[in-house]
Amino acid sequence: MIHFVLLISRQGKVRLTKWYSPYSQKERTKVIRELGGVILNRGPKLCNFVDWRGFKVVYKRYASLYFCMCIDQDDNELEVLEIIHHYVEILDRYFGSVCELDLIFNFHKAYYILDELLLAGELQESSKKTVARLIAAQDSLVETAKEQASSISNIIAQATK
């Protein structure tokens, strides 16, 4: 089971956190600090797994972002590595060559996508197409609102030129 998902930038900034097991706010901060320290300092050629408090944390670096997932001792690390990659590919498809900035400003969308991929700490859907279709369906329902927002952002853009 996946206990939590963390996205941390190379500078140690948190970009996304999702907790599938109960952690208090205090524990969360501590976990992030602890793991950030461990993972960000690991060399590039070491393996992508870290032992941590009896769990295993699988991480992968994409450009300046670290994607981390905490799993149980008997889970398959290589599989989790691919789940991370699967998620990144879906993000990439959705945002169109996704970059860290997309996730900074649209972190809620990254959450929605994650919710279609993982549920209750397990992979619920392994088909990219299905995830994309569901997200698209949700987006189409809010199309009108989006247009509205889009025009607002144009106004802002005009104003700040």
């Binding site: 691919e82 400003f105 397990e122 392994s126 607002i152």
Partner: protein
């Protein structure tokens, strides 16, 4: 699709994110966030905030909380938002509550109602959103409120809903297995769902159910096997392919389930052999996902009833993993080896050098995994090398969690396989010295008990030798500046019990040392208590032996201090010491007999000697004792601290009317049985209150040991003292049949070595250093020797590993001398999934791309190999343009860029083909990111020059 990536938040929010992004210190960031919290607090509670605004505020709250600040003031607004009618707003509300609240939060109860309503919605998207929330928020108490609706949703026409309903039930099962136990048939039915996604999701709850009760699901073996077969034969829709493997995540889940079902069941396993064998054959070991499946196959094969053919395939896969340059694969290989070794122990031998490489790798994760493997393959022949290695590593790390684990493993192995008493004591000393505060207190008691009881045989000289050596080593260790409390307790106890036993050390020397301990660790009361008791024992033995007791001056001052101590326990002990010293030799001998810590002590649990006293008191009008079971109005909480209970009952208020006084007064005996055993154990510094008991218990810990510390000692005793005879299990050396030690063993391990070296070297062409060979011989070469030496004494029968150490490497020395830099030659540890040759088509592989992004220069240089040099010289310029281009120049640049990234395509080498799909969709995306860049600039967010990374494609 790039249009979906636009930014639709207000300028305010963008500014917030931007300023946080540019904050130079944590303090600055905190200041910004705190002022944001103030703003949000004010705005969010304003009446008539438009929904759209409100939605943004909630998202900003999520952001604030993500950065580790408290946003609890806004939780209620997020809860309110879930009530909204429009999906857009509702979805945001649900997202926020699932992120904010844990399942035990008070606000959950306010959401349950909304969830119930939403689960009934006509719009399947609303139902989906509600189901997502169910998985996170519904707790054991609220399960019944939504359960019936969720069961209904299992038949929903939309597969997304069915899938999420299954996952919700899975979550319920984890939280409260009984709540869904009647729904097992539904899970079975969903296994045959038309939609592969729903089927895949159903495997999650089934895996849990099968883990808990294998036997009820044996009938499903055939179904699982046939599903797996169909998946492997690509019968599922193309959409489930991942990197050209057919539905790998489903395959892995199925293999996990089969491993459970086939474990120890020959019949069930036979059904699986064909399909698992097929998957072994079909798996593409050049891609990461292929290796993930291979690994799962190995796990499955090592769990089900063994099949020689499959074991062979598994061994092949393992050796491929171990020979790989990727650390990830080595790690998986070591793990898999640990699994397979249980079934075919001989497999370890051919990988010994690879294992040692991993053991000496700078990567901690890999090292730990290897220690786990060594732990699994420890025998009495290699225990010394392994435990020594473990202890060295234990000393070198700071991670307390792991330190505890490895310390307890050392202790476990030492107890099970110790070749000699000396070694055992030394090992335990090291463990205690470096991880004493982390090991279980029982381990310490165990050690004391072992020293006290000796090792089972009637060999008293060996026992006393052991004790003397323990005393000696402890006196030496006491010179160390800082020792863990637990270790000091052991030291004090042993010194008290055996410090003067062999006559080597005088009483004043030992007592001096004990006083030093008590002074040096003056804030550790437990240690002080141990020290005082040890002092008392030493003096008692002296008195009993008829010698004059001459208390050291420092001991006197210590006693004075303890007599006035705040700790009643210390006071008690000090007074006892005083009392003992004043007694004559005969009395002292009977209360503190020498070396009697193992003698059984007769405890009169009924305390019959008190009968007269009780009778007397009752006649004077005292209340008779009522046993707890007969007392009314008292909760039967527990019998822990029986005495306190008793006091409580006599002082507490009574709620019933007083009974009529009875005529016949019966003398009851207080049930002190529990109290008497409970007062004795060592760990608690509580000392008996009644002086009767203190006198009947001469040595505190011996009794403790006999009452509660029944650890794995039985096994230990059997192994101890006598050298265990190991029949030769290895087929590698037929030469080692001679009975004499030394030379033969060296032969044996050398043949094993050279043989394996051939296979190992033929591929790697690396010379192996003599140290490594030595280690390999002592780790793996051991089991082949036959040990017929009579156990004359522990020292003389040291296992051969030492001999091997000194002789074995000689043969390899010549080889190694040719090259002096053999061991640490760093191989190209590229990421897995990459071609082994570094220069092949780097930009085709997303993984590689990422590495390139870290250091743009390396990417460029690797690109040289493929694209024309002209393109390369340009590329740095393009990089520069990329961050600074005005919007107008997009097209030209992106063309060049895409040209650059396209050119290596022709050089594609086998093994990277899997990435082709991802790559082809990549090149036009550069345009997207440039547009994005421009858009962000329009929005007023200028990327700071420090962090251009933000714009880099995650996938390259």
């Amino acid at each position: 699709m790039g249009s979906q990536g636009g930014f639709y938040q207000s300028k305010e929010f963008l500014d917030l994110v931007k300023s946080i992004g540019e904050a130079r210190s944590k303090a600055e960031e905190d200041r910004i966030v705190l002022s944001e919290i103030e703003t949000l607090k004010r705005r969010i509670s304003e009446p008539d905030t438009p929904k759209r605004k409100m939605k943004e505020y909630i998202i900003r709250l999520v952001y604030v909380e993500m950065l580790g600040h408290d946003a609890s003031f806004g939780y209620i607004h997020a809860v309110k938002m879930t009530h909204d009618d429009t999906l857009l707003v509702k979805r945001t509300g649900y997202l926020a509550v699932t992120l904010f609240l844990n399942e035990d939060h008070d606000l959950i109860i306010l959401i349950v109602n909304t969830i119930q309503k939403d689960l009934k919605s006509d719009n399947y998207l609303v139902v989906c959103v509600a189901l997502n929330a169910v998985c996170k928020l519904i707790n054991e108490e609220t399960i019944p409120a939504v359960l019936p609706q969720i069961v209904e949703l299992l038949a929903h026409p939309k597969e997304a809903v069915r899938k999420k309903a299954i996952m919700a039930l899975h979550r319920f099962y984890q939280k409260s297995p009984s709540s869904v136990s009647h729904l097992v048939s539904n899970f079975r039915k969903r296994l045959c769902d038309n939609d592969p996604g729903v089927m895949g999701a159903t495997l999650c709850p089934l895996f849990d159910l099968i883990t808990n009760d294998v036997n009820s699901y044996k009938d499903l073996v055939i179904s699982f096997v046939s599903i797996l077969k169909q998946v492997a034969e690509r019968r599922l829709p193309k959409a489930y392919d991942y990197h050209q493997m057919p539905a790998p995540f489903i395959q892995i889940k199925l293999l996990k389930i089969l491993a459970l079902l086939g474990s120890g069941d020959k019949q069930a396993s036979e059904n699986m052999y064909t399909v698992v064998g097929d998957i072994f054959r079909k798996c593409d070991s050049s891609s990461n996902i292929g290796n993930a499946i291979l690994y799962e196959c190995i796990c499955c094969v090592s769990s089900i009833y063994p099949n020689p053919k499959l074991l062979e395939s598994a061994a092949d896969a393992i050796s491929r993993f171990l020979k790989s340059d990727s650390h990830n694969l080595k790690y998986m290989g070591i793990d898999a080896l640990g699994r397979l070794i249980k079934i075919s122990p001989e497999i370890a031998e051919q990988h010994q050098l690879a294992v040692i490489d991993c053991l000496e790798d700078p990567d901690d994760t890999l090292k730990r995994k290897t220690f786990e493997l060594l732990y699994k393959m420890t025998k009495s022949t290699n225990v010394e090398v392994i435990v020594d290695r473990m202890i060295d590593y234990m000393i070198s790390i700071n991670d307390n969690h792991y330190k505890t684990e490895i310390a307890s493993r050392c202790v476990e192995l030492a107890e099970q396989f110790a070749p000699s008493n000396q070694w055992f004591i030394q090992t335990m000393n090291k463990v205690f010295e470096h991880a004493g505060d982390l090991v279980n207190i029982k381990v310490a008691h165990n050690l004391m008990r072992l020293i006290a009881e000796g090792f089972g045989e009637d060999d008293n000289t060996a026992d006393s030798q052991l004790r003397s050596s323990a005393v000696e080593s402890y006196l030496y260790i006491l010179g160390e500046p800082k020792l863990p409390s637990v270790f000091l307790q052991v030291i004090c106890w042993v010194l008290g019990e055996y410090g003067t036993a062999d006559g080597k050390y005088s009483a004043s020397y030992i007592t001096g040392k004990l006083c030093d301990v008590a002074e040096a660790y003056s804030n550790d009361e437990t240690v002080k208590a141990y020290a005082v008791t040890a002092l008392m024992k030493i003096y008692a033995f002296e008195i009993a032996a008829g010698r004059m007791v001459d208390m050291l001056p420092e001991c006197h001052s210590l006693m004075e201090e303890f007599l006035a101590s705040h700790s009643t326990d210390l006071q008690q002990r000090a007074y006892e010491l005083q009392a003992v010293i004043g007694l004559d030799a005969h009395a002292v001998e009977s209360i503190m007999p020498s070396d009697a810590s193992c003698e059984d002590i007769e405890v009169d649990k009924a305390l019959s000697f008190l009968n007269g006293y009780i009778q007397e008191s009752i006649e004077k009008g005292a209340q008779p004792y009522i046993p707890e079971s007969e007392r009314s109005g008292m909760l039967n909480i527990s019998n822990f601290r029986n005495q306190d209970h008793h006091e409580a009952s006599s002082h507490g208020l009574r709620f019933e009317a007083y009974e009529l006084p009875k005529q016949t007064v019966q003398a009851r005996i207080p049930p002190a049985s529990l109290a008497s055993t409970e007062l004795v154990p060592v760990p608690e510094p509580v000392y008996p209150r009644e002086s009767y008991q203190t006198t009947t218990v001469p040595s505190v810990s011996s009794d403790a040991a006999s009452t509660e510390l029944k650890l794995r000692l039985d096994g230990v005793q059997k192994k101890w003292g006598r050298q265990t005879h190991f029949p030769s299990t290895s087929t590698s050396n037929s030469t080692s049949q001679k009975t004499v030690n030394g030379i033969t063993q060296v032969d044996g391990s050398n043949t094993a070595n050279s043989r394996t070296r051939e296979t190992y070297d033929s591929r790697k062409q690396v010379e192996i250093s003599p140290e490594k060979q030595k280690l390999a011989a002592s780790l793996f070469g051991g089991p082949s020797k036959t040990e017929k030496k009579s156990a004359t004494g522990h020292k003389s029968s040291k296992p051969s590993s030492h001999m091997v150490k000194s002789h074995a490497p000689k043969s390899s020395m010549e080889v190694a001398s040719e090259k002096t830099s053999p061991v640490q030659q760093p191989p190209d540890l590229l990421d897995f999934g990459e071609p082994t040759v570094k220069s092949t088509a780097p930009s085709l592989d997303p993984f590689k791309d990422l590495e390139g992004l870290l250091e743009p220069t390396t990417q460029v240089s690797s690109a040289v190999n493929h694209s024309s040099t002209a393109a390369v010289t340009k590329s740095p310029d393009i990089m520069g343009l990329y961050t600074e281009t005005p919007a107008g120049a997009h097209h030209k640049d992106s063309d060049i860029l895409s040209g650059l990234s396209n050119s290596p395509m022709t050089n594609m080498v086998g093994g990277t083909t899997t990435m082709q799909v991802a790559q082809t969709s990549k090149s036009p995306n550069l345009k997207d990111s440039l547009e994005k860049d421009a858009l962000v600039r329009q929005m007023g967010v200028t990327p700071s020059s420090q962090n251009p990374n933000l714009f880099k494609d995650l996938l390259g």
